[in-house]
């Protein structure tokens, strides 16, 4: 199966996502330049981390106008799986493919470190290999990962079970000190209503090889590889995740 990795000017985790897909998981991978007009036959699209257009103005604010985003939108509408990692998540928010917005980290500082995440939902193509409640240790690296949604939007997100990962302590318990950026409801990842688009601030591609200090990010890639291998029909809905 083929991963399409979109490269915006200023993307800087594009090679990392490519390396994970191709070298670690042995899948086909293609870079897709932001001015390209087709997705090169990708079965799954990754919007990688980085600083598209320098993240000047607002993170992701200018990338959403890139020509390729029209194709990404059409792919989403066809039900294709799309993963936005870090800056990719921010771009999905700015494009309206996911709800909400990012604010600067509560500490106003960029933060790069490992965090713990609790898996809340497994009926997405990127978490299907996980168990609800499972705790993952995956690094973050961002200055603007403080997820925000107005209260009504937030209520909808929660009741639709669109919150996929939350920041927790190592035992999977919510704890303000374990929330690295101040995200509302400790949200680290969400999906869209049709559940085929996932945005996450942590970097799973940085946690796929034991040499790099952890392999908990593999689950994200394994999920989508399995999901696509299983064919077009959707995985059965799993048990509802823990309520917030």
């Amino acid at each position: 199966m083929r991963f399409g990795i979109v490269v915006f000017p200023g993307s800087n985790c594009d090679e990392d996502a490519y390396h994970a897909a191709k070298d670690v998981f042995g899948q086909d991978a293609e870079y897709i330049w932001h001015k390209d007009t087709d997705l090169k036959g990708a079965d799954v699209v990754i919007l990688p981390g980085g600083f598209a257009h320098g993240d000047y103005l607002r993170t992701g604010a200018m990338a959403r106008f890139s020509p390729i985003m029209g194709q990404v939108r059409a792919f989403v509408e066809r039900g294709g799986p799309v993963l936005g990692i870090c800056n990719g998540f921010q771009i999905l928010l700015e494009s309206g493919l996911l709800p909400g917005a990012m604010l600067r980290n509560r500490t106003l500082k960029y933060r790069c470190e490992h965090v713990h995440l609790r898996v809340e939902q497994t009926d997405t193509p990127f978490t299907s290999a996980a168990k609800v409640g499972q705790v993952l240790r995956i690094p973050i690296g961002h200055g603007e990962g403080n997820y925000f949604a107005p209260s009504d939007m937030l209520a909808t997100l929660e009741s639709n079970r669109q919150v996929i990962l939350r920041y927790t302590d190592p035992n999977g318990e919510l704890d303000p000190d374990s929330n690295p950026n101040g995200s509302v409801n400790a949200i680290a990842a969400i999906c869209n209503e049709s559940r085929n688009v996932v945005g996450m601030m942590p970097h799973p591609e940085r946690a796929c090889e034991s040499l790099l200090g952890g392999v908990d990010g593999r689950m994200i890639f394994e999920s989508v590889v399995e999901t696509l291998a299983r064919g077009p029909e959707r995985p059965a809905l799993q048990a509802v995740g823990r309520a917030f």
């Binding site: 000017p9 800087n12 320098g54 500490t107 960029y110 970097h203 591609e205 940085r206 090889e209 790099l212």
Partner: protein, 780 residues
Amino acid sequence: MIDPQVLERHGLKPDEYERIKQFLGREPNLTELGIFSVMWSEHCSYKSSRVHLKTLPTTGKQVLQGPGENAGAVDIGDGLAAVFKIESHNPPSFIEPYQGAATGVGGIIRDIFTMGARPIALLNSLRFGSIDVPGTRRLLEGVVAGIAGYGNSIGIPTVGGEIAFEPSYAGNPLVNVFCLGIAKASDIIKGVASGVGNSVYYVGAKTGRDGIHGATMASAEFDEKSAEKRPAVQVGDPFMEKLLLEACLEVMQTDALVGIQDMGAAGLTCSTTEMGSRGGAGVEIDIAHVPQRESRMTPYEIMLSESQERMLLVVKRGREAEVERIFDKWDLHAVHIGEVTSDGMLRVKDKGTVVAEIPNRALTDEAPVYRRPMTEPEYLAEVRKLDLDVLTRDGLKAIPYSGVGDGLPPSRNASADHRSLGEGGQTVPGSQNTALLLLLGSATIGSKKWVYRQYDHMVRTNTINYPGFGAGVVRIKGTDRALALSVDGNGRYCYLDPYRGAMLAVAEAARNVACAGARPLGATNCLNFGNPERPAIMWQFAKTVEGIGAACRALDVPITGGNVSLYNETDGKAIYPTPVIGVVGLLEHADRVVSRRFHRSGDAIILLGEGHGELGGSEYLKVVHDLVRGGPPSIDLDAERALQDLLVTLATERLIHSAHDCSDGGLAVTLAECCFDTEGMGADVSIPGVEITRDPALNTAAALFGESASRVLVSVVPESATAVLERAAAANVPARMIGQTGGNLLRIAVAGQMAVDLSIHEAERVWNAAIERYFAKRVA
């Protein structure tokens, strides 16, 4: 029109002006004078340092590129080269910490990718005044944010560094940044202009009036009036640099390129003349074609501007369209501004009219070189005296400390006189515990997590030893190998003895790399000093270079490049002489990397090397007794070499679980650091005593906190302990088993007497808070 005031403003001496006239056979015009002034500035010409730098060892079979190019390179096998260099950005970072540090990072990255190498790691070495002085925190916060802002955005991980706080840097913080890149050994690209008729291209940001005379500023002391002289600050544009980086690397895949250089200090002037001079050619440009950000810029301004993120390229004639197309893809517009000529001249035109015409050679090879007078500084005789008996009267017993129950780690008020604080008179129980906590909680020794957490240290998914765990280590994708990197220097040591201090800096950087299991291959150096026109400073400089040379020869780490930053003075007070050494080492097997932290409970702890209780110049004397005195530790370079070779062997044979070198704070601090980030694993050790005075407590302190060189703590599974001791014996390295890991306490007995007995949890909390606590309130 060129009167003495004009000359002075250009930092040119009357005799230098006479030489200029001789070269030209006429009076220069103002543009030409400006060009001479920047090219003959200390920063570009190395006129005071050159004679000394020439003595450094720069060759070796691993060296692919020595000093003289934009960066040095060493062979790392598999047909690959490690390209690396260090650069200072001290005065700009004092004026505007964020932008100063950010543009420093931008500059060193350009130096690396101009060589055809993809930059894959950054390090930084920082010096500030005491952390409890108000101005320091603003500088620290700005500098760290600037390094983060640029490096994170462009996507190059910052994998290590060092920071020290000393009053001598209060008015002159040091910001040294190191960058490493990887290139195909056969594809290293040079900064040359050659081939008459080849095209000269300008690409990148437009030229503005920023940073004009930055190079001469970097060569002049600060004084009260410098506030007025402040040139416009350069603002970094990491996004532009990212585009340049990708586009230039793509252009380099073609063979359309002859040479390339970034426009750093002295901008267009320096890049045109240096490229021409390396290629034995001339360069002719027309500044009317130079993209300009501001209107009505003069030739003088355009030639001297230091706007960031600009590159100069020489492209083969006929291949221009290919190159332009690649830049267009990245939304960059490469502009043809001139060509290579045969006459060896730098010729600058403005819409066809010649506005400057100077032989390249006069600006580069023939720039002035000075053998400045040197004398041993007077302060040395005094500071070398260390009377330990004075300490025993009112030192050790005087530590004002009442535990950490208040939630705050101990700290000494730097401005308070410790003597008066000690008037209570009686011995504090557990005074060695207290001293250890004071050291762990001091900003220079404490955890730097507050700093490196702001740096993306994982992007590019190569980092296998994170900052905070010893040397930074990055694997080389597509091979089994990895590179270990460390930058080190101790200004206090060099202040007390520049020759020995410099040797210790080289030894420490190489030792840190060897602790990771890597064989040191090469080094780069950044020499930060005061005003070289003062004989005492020049003496410090010369001794330092001698020391670096001696150590690099003995350890077989040739110097492949570096940077000199002089005039680091405020109101006539110089910084500590501060060489910073960056060493790159090679691990044949990435998965055999070793880090500082203990791995497993029940492991044997072995001390390699021997302590002699050397307290001169130590952190202990500074932090606990407020004293900067004595000679720094002695060093036997042969013993150091043997130790480093042994470390590589032990790692390669997978005999050790961890390795950490004893430096600042001595064995006790090192041992504590081995316990940190292990979820509270302790250690129980017993070390021999030393006898340096009659006072038993001070002898104990010397055994714990003395900073004798060439020592490393390793941990090993008990079954391997004998093998390790045997390898050490065979290598002629003193080694002794001193205890084992386990429990949740750090217990150290000295000469059979329990001297330190602390909970790791407590010690780690103090260490973690050392810097963070000064910023904790700022969290919203």
